[in-house]
Symmetry: C2
């Protein structure tokens, strides 16, 4: 049986990545969401081991030193990281594990795991992104500008990703389907089946 893939999903705020990821997981038993560790405090309603693994700064640093993390990054004074234990036991059983992480973490994955699949979710254009962020009506102008500046930076990493998916308005299900076929085709990659030729000749 082919192993599952590590699928990194990135995209600017307003790209819809959480919605796409949630729907993907909800309708596919062979996909799993990786739960990150973080040193930030839980927000109301967040549960340890469900939304994040909440750890102390000391615990996180010990984890880094011990090679616990597949990737990690620091944002706004807090650590975020993906424990290896969230990946290998699942991919070994053919489960695809989805990491919803920022560009910084994705580039670590790119450098260390050539079999990981990097997918960037994007709105059709910058102006669509802008109107989505304003349309939320929950963010002040300064926050909108900050997110737009971040998106401008993120798109510069486009070519470091393997695939991109276009999330036009009302296209969540089509995005999920595209992510499913991207994951499916990883099973047909020769590099993920390097033991095939030997088994072929012996059987």
């Amino acid at each position: 049986m082919a192993k599952g893939s590590v699928i990194v999903l990135s995209g600017p705020a307003g790209s819809g990545k959480s919605t796409v990821r949630e729907r993907l997981i909800a309708r596919n038993p062979d996909f799993r969401y990786s739960i990150s560790d973080t040193t930030r405090k839980p927000r109301p309603g967040e549960k340890d081991g469900v939304d994040y693994g909440f750890v102390t700064v000391e615990e996180f640093r010990e984890g880094i030193a011990a090679g616990k993390y597949y990737e990690f990054a620091e944002y706004a004074g807090n650590y975020y990281g993906t424990p290896v234990s969230q990946l290998v036991p699942f991919t070994d059983r053919g489960i695809n594990v989805v990491l919803e992480i920022e560009v910084q973490g994705a580039m670590q994955v790119r450098a260390k795991d050539e079999n990981a699949v990097l997918v960037m979710l994007l709105p059709p254009s910058f102006s669509v992104l802008e109107s989505r962020l304003r349309g939320r009506g929950t963010e002040c102008e300064e926050s909108v500008q900050r997110r737009l500046a971040k998106a401008r930076n993120e798109i510069e990493y486009f070519m470091n990703y393997d695939y991109f998916i276009l999330n036009a308005d009302g296209c969540i299900d089509e995005c999920v389907r595209q992510l499913e076929v991207i994951a499916e085709t990883q099973k047909y990659r020769t590099k993920n089946n390097s033991d095939f030729p030997v088994n072929f000749l012996l059987n």
Copy 2:
């Protein structure tokens, strides 16, 4: 619009690649079969411009010198080659062009066109291949042995291909579907959409 892909389909005699390719083309208007040039004589029923472009050795050599061929190879004293004119006008319009070629030609494609997609079609095992070749009942033992030796050689190029598709008995439609999704996901590859970021920011 994303360009179409050049899809190289290889596989040993008995892998079913002609059947898979024919069914793929028959049911997809956005797939096209590339018609090779050859210097061998037409067999009964073969038509110039349909099965092959039948050319003289002189014409073929002039074509090589003029850069006419995307890939070419010599088998059993005859040239076979894919004219560039069979590819670019179609891929530019979003059509996927399927090349059914041998490992030798596929390796030329690998070296010169990083966007081409190389797919190897294989039976589940060597013993299945052997029984299929014998089951045809049309080939002498010497011919069977020659084809098996060739298959043993071909499988050594497995890792030089991007994808492989397993053609178990009775699975032609599933093979066609897998080839379709492999082709589909090429449209989502960032490397095939390098102009996206600039257009994104300008719109």
